[in-house]
């Protein structure tokens, strides 16, 4: 049925749903994914719609599930992704789900708050233990002369002065000095110390020691580093002040007995409590783990269910409410071939709820329906290339079909290298081969996803490049001599050494065999000094030929558009002059190229007029043709002629005249006919309008009456004509990028070979072997990165441009909008990608 060539017919349908069965029906349609609902209440706020409460309940469930998921992730419990796709549950099951989630959330919250309290307790005890341990050191230092037991002062050996100071104070005054011990975050120690010093005017003494192992913050679960400090001071005033500062810096203070025996006793007590707490904590953790593991098993399917319910209610919110019959009215776009399937789905939906059947009506519509191209995994990427320029207008010719071949082909003209082509093909083939496992594995890398999405394009581009590589006879800038060159060098060594330039003459049978190399370029050209000149001429010509064929093809496609949409005027006033214009100028140009290729040549029996020396330049011929210049006639049968065939001058002159006539034809004819038609209609009055209406075919959507404002039409047509006439010149020249890129690619790979790999190849001996090892690595990397990746990308972009601008401007409108069916699959996918992004 040719759905590839045009977008599918899409019908606007009205759907009457019973309120009992609406939910199940929409659910079935969502599984099907073939229906696009129209929003019938665009003016109604999101919170004033009918099913807003259900949506809100779904939001609430989603929130609970997210909370569960976060907790599960925190404990690093694997979540099972079984890949099964549960159906949307019935509305009454929603309550069960809600209750279930509620229960789980509460349970988890309780466990968490218990665990947090326990952990806080645990943290306090650990801190206290550290304080007791560290302060022991401080006190020990104070009690004993500092240099006697060196092992007692492990933290501050280098800080002799401080210790002496402390010793002095302590020996005489320790009894009268109060102190506060506590724990503070390590990063706050510096400002804490400064603040203390400032606020107490240097009248306090602070010692601090770091706690080596990180402690867990019970609120956030993060690991934090802390320090133990002890502050000595004198007097109640200072004590108050110090305490205030400690509070201000969120230091936790702990009671610390002064007598060593008390401290030891306390340490013992703390240790036993810690042990007890540890067992309780591990039990709590176990419980939490069990809850989470059981939740993790079902989390994904719950999430899917909630998403589906939410999507259904969102769709239901777009419907109109039929108060009389207690039902819902929906309007939707359905592709015509799928009407049957949709009917079946609706029947399934009504059967499930057991109410009256849903009714599906086709409506006629004024606005143009959405564009729907059915794609498969192969065509999807190509359709994507076209859609990113602009979605096709409803039912116009779809360039994507032709792009499948022309795109890789034009790419390959620029990327012609057998070696690089093989690399690209292998890469593409690998992605196609491993398609299933690779697509299941979700990779976040955007670049990879682009490559993977375009795997078939890459595969085709690679194979086509291999073909053009064979034609150019180019493998990593070298040629393959598979069949033996047709050229031979008959000269002996001394002749070659003595003469700077030797030309091979195709006329001599000992130099040229007379039959060309079977396929592609003769490998001998690789050695020729004029290789570039020869290749440039060849590549430029084929660029122009392919370009003009491509553009002509585009113009011919516009005929199919005109015929399909019954625009006879456009055929007469646009298509025909366009074809004539192109043929008289540019198609003729390619003909000249072929004439030159076929007629002129070397050989035994070729008359002088047709020898290569006599061949006229096509560029000059073409310029003279447009300028309508004559040339001198050939003086005799043995002198060269500027003409390629008899009567060329008159034919060319006629063609230029035809081409020039085409311009006003395109410019004026259509506005004139439109003007005449509108005038006639005005004269005939209303009857005429009705007659005109009857002529319009009923299958086509009726366009809203165009405003035949003459000046607007004239301006539009003027722009169109100028665009086409100027475009035909600039677009033709634009195709020369095929040659330019191909030349650049060949030269670049030649430079890479000459400058890199050759060094390795020309180094002799064992060192050469080693050098080669590295040089080859460098060459291979550069080849892949620069020549395959970068050059490939640039050739890709140029090809894209040739398609979007040069080709599609001839026929493609691209004014449509895409058909976005209501489909659970795409909704779930979108949700999942936002979820992964949020992580």
């Amino acid at each position: 049925m040719g759905s590839l060539f045009r977008s599918e017919e899409v019908a606007l349908c009205q759907l009457f749903l019973q309120s009992e069965s609406a939910y199940t029906c929409v659910s079935e349609l969502g599984e099907l994914g073939l229906v696009q609902f129209r929003d019938l209440n665009p003016d109604v706020n999101a919170f004033q719609r009918k099913f807003v409460n259900e949506v809100r309940r779904c939001d609430e469930m989603e929130r609970k599930l997210r909370y569960l998921e976060r907790e599960i992730r925190r404990d690093a419990i694997p979540m099972q992704d079984t890949g099964d796709n549960p159906e949307a549950p019935m509305p009454r099951e929603m309550i069960d789900l809600e209750a279930n989630f509620e229960k789980l959330e509460n349970e988890l919250k309780e466990v968490n708050s218990n665990a947090e309290a326990l952990k806080r307790n645990y943290l306090e005890l650990t801190e206290l233990r550290h304080i007791l341990k560290k302060t022991q050191v401080f006190f020990d230092e104070a009690m004993y002369p500092p240099n006697l037991p060196p092992d007692q002062a492990p933290y501050f050996d280098d800080d002799d002065e401080t210790i002496n100071l402390l010793t002095d104070i302590s020996l005489h005054q320790l009894k009268h000095i109060g102190f506060v011990a506590g724990v503070i975050l390590r990063e706050r120690v510096a400002s804490f110390e400064r603040m203390l010093w400032r606020a107490c005017r240097g009248n306090v003494f602070l010692r601090q020691a770091q706690i080596e192992e990180p402690l867990e913050d019970p609120a956030t679960g993060e690991q934090v580093y802390k320090s133990v400090f002890i502050i000595f001071f004198q007097g109640e005033q200072l004590k108050l002040r110090v305490k205030k500062i400690c509070e201000g810096f969120r230091a936790t203070m702990y009671p610390c007995p002064e007598a060593p025996a008390d401290r030891r006793e306390m340490a013992m007590g703390v240790k036993t409590r810690l042990d007890d707490l540890n067992t309780v904590l591990s039990q709590t953790q176990d419980h939490r783990h069990r809850v989470l593991v059981s939740a993790a098993r079902n989390l994904r399917s719950w999430m899917l269910k909630v998403w589906k319910i939410k999507a259904i209610y969102h769709s239901l919110n777009m419907f109109n409410i039929d108060t009389i019959q207690n039902g819902l009215i929906a309007e939707c776009w359905i592709p015509v071939p799928d009407l049957e399937t949709v009917q079946l789905a609706l029947r399934r939906g009504t059967e499930k709820s057991g109410s009256l059947p849903a009714i599906l009506n086709r409506l006629s519509c004024v606005e143009s329906p959405p564009t729907f191209h059915r794609t498969n995994k192969f065509t999807r990427a190509f359709q994507g290339l076209i859609d990113s320029y602009g979605v096709a207008s409803y039912r116009e010719m779809n360039p994507a079909v032709y792009t499948i071949i022309t795109f890789p082909f034009l790419f390959a003209i620029m990327f012609g290298d057998l070696g690089h082509g093989i690399i690209m093909t292998l890469f593409g083939a690998w992605m196609v081969w491993k398609e299933k496992p690779l697509s299941v594995k979700k990779v976040d890398s955007e670049i990879w996803n682009i490559f993977f999405g375009g795997r078939y394009i890459i595969l085709l581009m690679g194979t086509f490049s291999m073909y053009t590589g064979i034609i150019y006879n180019d493998v990593f800038s070298k040629s393959l001599n598979l069949f033996g060159s047709s050229w031979h060098v008959p000269f002996n060594e001394s002749t070659i050494r003595d003469n700077r330039e030797i030309m091979l003459d195709p006329k001599q049978p000992d130099q040229y065999e007379g039959t060309p190399y079977p396929i592609g370029l003769d490998p001998l050209w690789q050695l020729a000094a004029n290789k570039i000149n020869f290749l440039n001429s060849y590549k430029m010509k084929i660029s122009i030929i392919f370009g003009i064929v491509h553009m002509m093809f585009g113009i011919i496609l516009s005929l199919w558009n005109h015929r399909f949409f019954n625009r006879r005027l456009n055929v007469l006033c646009e298509f025909i002059p366009q074809v004539l214009f192109m043929s008289c100028l540019f198609v003729y140009l390619t003909l000249l190229v072929f004439i030159k290729w076929v007629n002129y040549g070397a050989g035994e029996d070729v008359p002088l007029v047709l020898t290569p020396g006599c061949a006229p330049s096509i560029l000059i011929t073409f310029i003279n043709m447009v300028l309508m210049k004559g040339y001198e006639e050939a003086k005799g049968p043995n002198s060269c002629s500027a003409y390629m065939y008899d009567g060329q001058f008159y034919l060319q002159r006629m063609m230029v005249v035809v081409a020039v006539i085409c311009v006003p034809w395109m410019l004026v004819a259509k506005p004139y006919f439109l003007y005449r038609a509108s005038k006639q209609r005005a004269m005939l009055g209303t009857g005429g309008v009705e007659g005109a209406m009857e002529e319009t075919p009923s299958t086509m959507p009726v366009q809203p009456a165009e405003d035949h404002d003459m000046s607007e039409i004239l301006i539009h047509q003027g722009i169109h004509t100028i665009e086409f006439v100027l475009g035909s010149v600039s677009h033709t020249a634009s195709y020369l990028r095929l040659w330019a890129l191909s030349l650049a690619h060949a030269q670049l790979s030649e430079v890479l070979w000459g400058m890199v790999l050759r060094i390795g190849l020309s180094t002799a001996g064992t060192t050469g072997g080693f050098a080669m090892y590295f040089i080859f690595a460098a060459w291979a990397t550069l080849t892949v990165v620069i020549l395959v990746l970068m050059e490939g990308l640039s050739a890709f972009l140029h090809t894209l441009r040739l398609h979007w601008v040069e080709f599609q401007s001839k026929f493609y409108e691209g004014q449509g909008y895409a058909f976005v069916p209501f489909s659970f699959d795409s909704i779930l996918e979108a949700n999942e990608s936002t979820v992964t992004e949020a992580k």
């Binding site: 999101a46 609430e60 400032r198 606020a199």
Partner: protein, 357 residues
């Protein structure tokens, strides 16, 4: 090399070398500010859950999605502020000079407010831990929680503020007096005056479009403070001389207008002073406390919004960061206002928000 650098500095577009990314970011954020039609939808909401649903369709996205129903206004307020602070701090973390200092300057205002809040709280014997959540997160610093160590302003300076960026603004208000209500207000206003003047000079020295945009905004801020100080001082113990010391001198009122304000005895006098300045006259004319009239405060807010919106008309300057923050704060106030009206079922005044155009 030096000349070369000067030339570069003169080129406005060189701004983009350092701050182009952030300017793009802030302009993107600015486009997310709620429009008139969003407000029209918001005021129609029946409950806070409706409000949440509508905010989800704006740039706020799912910022309330993880909050359990029923919503509290305070939760909305916290979340709005949290989002703004995250945005601001993201930009501050990526900023380089001179934008970094500029953005730091913005935060000093919040520091002053926080200090005053905490001291006042401490005077009323409220624990710091209870007050901390009320402080603006942009204005916190290491020492802030230990602020109740100080009983006099000298102590406040020596113990707490000397290490903070506010130290340089504190010079004038050091005294041995105990901190009491009046004193604190004086400290706040003196600090603010010094801060505004310093900020004004900083922007002026930056020159270029930054000065063009920021100076009028800060001048207006200064004048607004002068007006409000004067109006609020009537009927308090504050002497006229002391009052005159509190006026920031970087506004358009300086010097004549401020001198006249210093002599003012009642609100009528203030209005007379404003008569001499075209834009302020317009603000005072429409203002009033009767129903149907807008208060002077709202008028000032409206004018500020206008200035800040205009800041986005210029390119290549730091003012957009300030303006964005201000606009967004206004938006938060609006949303909170509307939520309060909805929550208290007091819909008569729901339209008293200040639209950001």
């Amino acid at each position: 090399m030096f000349i070369f650098q000067n030339i570069i500095i003169m080129l406005d577009s060189a701004f983009n070398i350092d701050c182009g990314y952030l300017e793009g970011l802030v302009r993107g954020f600015r486009n997310g500010i709620l429009r008139q039609h969003d407000y029209l939808n918001l005021v129609q909401c029946e409950s806070l859950d409706d409000l949440k649903l509508h905010l989800q369709s704006t740039d706020y996205g799912s910022f309330l999605a993880n909050e359990a129903s029923p919503l509290q206004v305070s939760v909305i307020d916290d979340k709005l502020r949290e989002k703004l602070v995250i945005e601001f701090q993201h930009m501050r973390n990526h900023a380089v000079e001179p934008l970094a200092t500029f953005m730091d300057y913005i935060t000093y205002g919040y520091m002053i407010d926080n200090i005053v809040l905490l001291i006042t709280g401490a005077l009323h014997q409220r624990p710091i831990s209870e007050l901390m959540p009320k402080c603006h997160p942009l204005g916190t610093f290491d020492q802030i929680e230990a602020i109740n160590v100080a009983n006099t302003s000298v102590e406040l300076y020596n113990a707490v503020l000397v290490d903070t960026p506010l130290a340089e603004f504190f010079g004038e208000c050091v005294s041995e007096q105990d901190l009491d209500e009046l004193n604190i207000e004086i400290i706040r206003n003196t600090l603010y005056k010094a801060y505004l003047e310093s900020f004004y000079n900083y922007c002026k020295n930056l020159g270029g479009p930054t000065a063009e945009v920021m100076c009028p905004i800060l001048a207006f801020e200064a004048d607004r403070r002068a007006f409000i100080i004067t109006v609020n001082s009537f009927g308090t113990e504050l002497t006229k001389e002391d009052r005159a010391k509190l006026y920031p001198t970087c506004g358009r009122l300086y010097p004549d207008g401020l001198a006249a304000l210093a002599r003012a005895d009642d609100p009528e006098n203030v209005k007379q002073v404003a008569e001499f300045y075209a834009e302020y006259r317009a603000l005072f004319e429409g203002a009033g406390n009767n129903p149907g009239e807008k208060t002077l405060e709202d008028k000032f807010f409206e004018y500020e919004v206008k200035l800040n919106v205009n800041a986005f008309m210029h390119q290549f300057h730091c003012g957009v960061f300030y303006s964005y923050l201000r606009l967004k704060e206004q938006e938060c106030r609006n949303i909170v206002w509307i939520s309060e009206c909805i929550a208290q079922k007091h819909r008569a005044k729901i339209d008293n928000y200040i639209p950001i155009l």
